[in-house]
Symmetry: C2
Subunit: 549 residues, 2 copies
């Protein structure tokens, strides 16, 4: 049972070290190149994706009351893949039957399965890239990274944290209590890991694997059967994941039903039935604050880990590299057309303008320069499509339409390339405009005139506290204010990036170093992957008895 564990022990040890050090580390190459993945990987990945289209998806032994699934690529075309599906009761029953054996298997066997599955998922990153691209609308390069190696990193991180926590204390002990001159009292004690129960992972449309792997792998490693409930629009990446996990589980002699797929269709979701089932003790959820609130109110039997929404801000107080600032922000706004929980929305600029290496820039000049930087970035259509990708949800396009009349247009949104697409809409707004206080998910950003930089920081941190925020950015030359801002954003529970230029963006969150979401404001209560994310997925029970003297 521990052969897989032994095989992957060096990987686990390296991950544990990386977690502590928080420097750059990843075992999964992020570059979609034959050099790392084998010269035929690219072609094979695409061929494997094409072979899945229009077919029934094979999940041997999985509950199957009906074939369901109606995914349509945001880049164009129905996928035509039909997945085995079952109602909540049957899925819960199947997971319940797997529960005992999965718990008894113990940490080494489960962690071994998780590590082997991640390594296999990494090998099929080209297929995952296509599956992610055609469900989320991401362009291929991003889909490869976010759907493949970066998601695998987050999975590995969760497995390592779970292992670290399960082995934090001695599994057995000799407890010897002195009794003065009499013989000591001696007990032997043995602890075991008691999983919390069934686990439900509710995926999102835009990052089906990246946002779900941490919860899936943390729950599985700690012994909780996982029911994976994909967004009806982004099933394939998680179905592939479930298949790999079920294969590895079965090969390791564990119940394949320790991981199940809960496919439903838009308008007939079974999420609520699953979430409220008393056997479900853990829920990982990525999505709207509204449904997050529903879960908290109704799934009271479960520990709920969420990533919800917020309003991310940029404060521009000054810069030593105005061109670099504009180019960097342009990319952050255009990447996947702003459909990232980490993408900036509110850009605060002092109404009197800012000092830069290019001299003073007025508020309008900053707005125009940002718009021009976006135009420039997307001027080559192929490159533009490769950055923006397509729009996952038609409602996002409608939102762009609704918002465009609410401010002075600095840059209009426009289609780009094939499928459902939209480049960033950039509006100039006055401080206090109510629309700034709402999350406008998608390619929408506001350049907001504020009295001064300190006012900007106040707006940004207040908003984080009230509405939530996952990222914040600051451009500034004033060291004292940078220090103040770092403290203020920390108190508001937001990770802050300062003076980013070049090829590193505020949207990016690297596993093993950046904790994604702090859990300290309304944008979510879970942080990927801190100890709290894994520690309450299991408990310890002991038995003890006297040792004969």
């Amino acid at each position: 049972m521990t052969e897989l564990f032994d095989r992957h022990r060096p990987l686990l040890d390296a991950a544990l070290q990386a977690l502590r050090d928080r420097g750059f580390w990843s075992p999964f190459p992020e570059i979609p190149s034959g050099k790392f993945y084998g010269e035929t990987a690219r072609q094979e990945g695409e061929a494997a994706f094409q072979a899945l289209r229009g077919q029934a998806f094979d999940l041997p032994g999985h509950p199957n009351q009906a074939l369901r699934g109606a995914e349509i690529s945001p880049h164009g075309g129905a996928l035509g893949i039909r997945y085995p599906s079952a109602d909540a009761a049957e899925l819960i029953a199947a997971a319940g039957r797997a529960q005992g054996a999965l718990a008894e298997a113990g940490p080494e066997a489960r962690v071994g399965v998780c590590l082997e599955a991640l390594v296999r998922l990494n090998r099929m990153s080209f297929l995952m890239g296509h599956a992610t691209m055609h469900t989320t609308g991401q362009a291929f390069a991003m889909a490869f990274q976010a759907g493949g190696p970066h998601a695998q990193d987050r999975g590995l991180e969760a497995v390592a944290m779970a292992w670290d926590e399960m082995t934090r204390f001695a599994p057995q002990a000799r407890w010897e209590k002195p009794q003065g001159k009499a013989a000591p009292i001696v007990l032997e004690k043995y602890w075991s890991i008691v999983p919390a129960g069934l686990s439900l992972a509710i995926g999102c449309n835009t990052f089906p694997t990246w946002n779900s792997y941490a919860g899936i792998f943390a729950s599985l490693a700690t012994g909780n059967p996982v029911i994976v409930k994909p967004h009806p629009g982004a099933i394939l990446p998680l179905a592939l994941t479930v298949r790999v996990l079920r294969d590895v589980l079965a090969e390791a002699g564990l119940p394949a039903d320790s991981v199940l797929l809960a496919v439903d269709e838009a308008g007939a979701e079974i999420t609520r039935d699953l979430a409220m089932n008393p056997a479900v003790r853990l829920i990982d959820y990525t999505g709207s604050n509204a449904f997050g609130g529903w879960l908290r109110a109704h799934a009271t039997q479960a520990r709920i880990f969420t990533e919800e929404a917020g309003v991310n801000t940029v404060t521009i107080a000054g810069t030593d590299d105005f061109v670099g600032l504009c180019a960097n922000l342009a990319f952050s706004l255009a990447l996947y057309s702003g459909q990232m929980c980490t993408a900036p929305q509110n850009i605060y600029v002092p109404e009197g303008g800012i000092d830069t290496d290019q001299g003073h820039k007025s508020f309008d000049e900053v707005g125009r320069a940002l718009a021009a930087a976006i135009d420039d970035l997307l001027s080559d259509p192929a490159r533009g499509a490769g950055i923006c990708g397509a729009i996952a949800n038609p409602a996002t396009l409608e939102r762009v339409e609704q918002v465009r009349g609410l401010g002075r247009v600095l840059r209009a949104s426009a289609p780009l390339g094939q499928g459902r697409t939209a480049t960033p809409l950039l509006l100039a707004l006055r401080d206090g405009d109510p629309i700034c206080e709402q999350e406008c998910f998608g390619p929408i950003a506001f350049v907001i005139a504020v009295r001064d930089a300190d006012t900007a920081l106040e707006r940004a941190t207040d908003l984080a506290r009230c509405k939530g925020a996952i990222t914040a950015a600051l451009y500034d030359r004033d060291e004292a204010r940078i220090e103040r801002a770092a403290r203020a954003f920390a108190a508001a529970g937001v990770n802050l990036s300062v003076n980013l230029t070049g090829n590193i963006y505020v949207n990016q969150s690297a596993a093993f170093s950046d904790f994604h979401v702090t859990g300290a404001n309304p944008a979510g209560n879970a942080s990927l992957t801190d100890t709290a994310f894994v520690a309450s997925r299991f408990r310890r029970a002991m038995w003890r008895r006297p040792v004969a003297a």
Copy 2:
């Protein structure tokens, strides 16, 4: 600010090592002896207690709208101590004013304060013993231990866990991402600890310090101001604790209002107002399942850590030491008249009797031997009073009256010594009697005839799963069944003690080794002190920026 931390660093390091090893360890002597506490400590402790009686309790600078308090010793006599008190709004406001400075102080300063306070509390263990005795009804020896060193152990354990968790990851890192032949991207990153918010500790009548120290110290160490809400019947031990903490905070230059006392009177409790305040983000609660349920339904803004109630069981399947078994169980039942969350209630015995070193014993013989062992233990009145103590709550005496007619009396309850007292009531019941499925808190135990030992284990584990249980005991000679039982009780989330005889009892839970409550059944969701107990009391926020190449 870190002088206290430096001074107590060896204590912290020893506690951290003990936590990992889970062997016997404590820096706080449990024996109320001048040898450990100084030859004058006993007299000084009692004198200090007597000096507090009938006076206004001094808490310099504490909010004080009115003096309140009406404690009456279960051993007899009103304490007559009046404490400064304020309504929920004023306490929340005062805690809120302390919040910023406490967060900014950082882990070392806060942990230093906690360690110094524990060391001072230890020095005043004789006073704490008297304060605990005359609020809980415990006999002095137990009150000294449970109210003093054992509670201090649980506090220290929580501080050590909090420190371990706050320092688990690097506080800063250089993140260097290779870029092929180009220069690497280099960021510097800094993390800070973000406390969750205000913390509320709701104490109980029977173990005011032991059950509250873990939550108070875990919250304070992680930067959350704590409002300590004692049971109206057991204020003094927590008021003394609050005073020590406020003194040490002030000496360390931190706001004294980081720890506040919320005194109210029976029938006019302010617990609900405090619990539902949006600023309260952490609640530690010891008490009934009913109020635990109320908190979960209403204090939805807070993370709630509970120890509630359950039905603890003993399964007697056989023994090699029948006399030792009876004497051991007799003590467990008599100790503090069963007013412990760890005291056994349901004692399952096969209807056909058991095999022992004294030959076969019928069901009735086991029941009679247990009753006789209790009589024997309590035959000397002074010794009996020293074990049973007094009854904290008049409702417990009423319960003994109500229950006595529900089964065949094996041993009647009777008063003993001074004050409100009652020795154990022991009833014989048939399997399936509905009263066995209820917690009957106090000196009440049932000897229940079941078909066989396996049926007993089934009843005990089912009950733990449905109603909760904190302890279980098994007496057995069958190694295979012991192993099976260990697995079954672990799956039901109960710690199991096997074949205890001599001076170690199922009720005892030792800090640094035994996790108290597993959190895996309805008897509570918190485990003292595992990682989950501390990890969600704070979050991490980062700021990062490029390093000049």
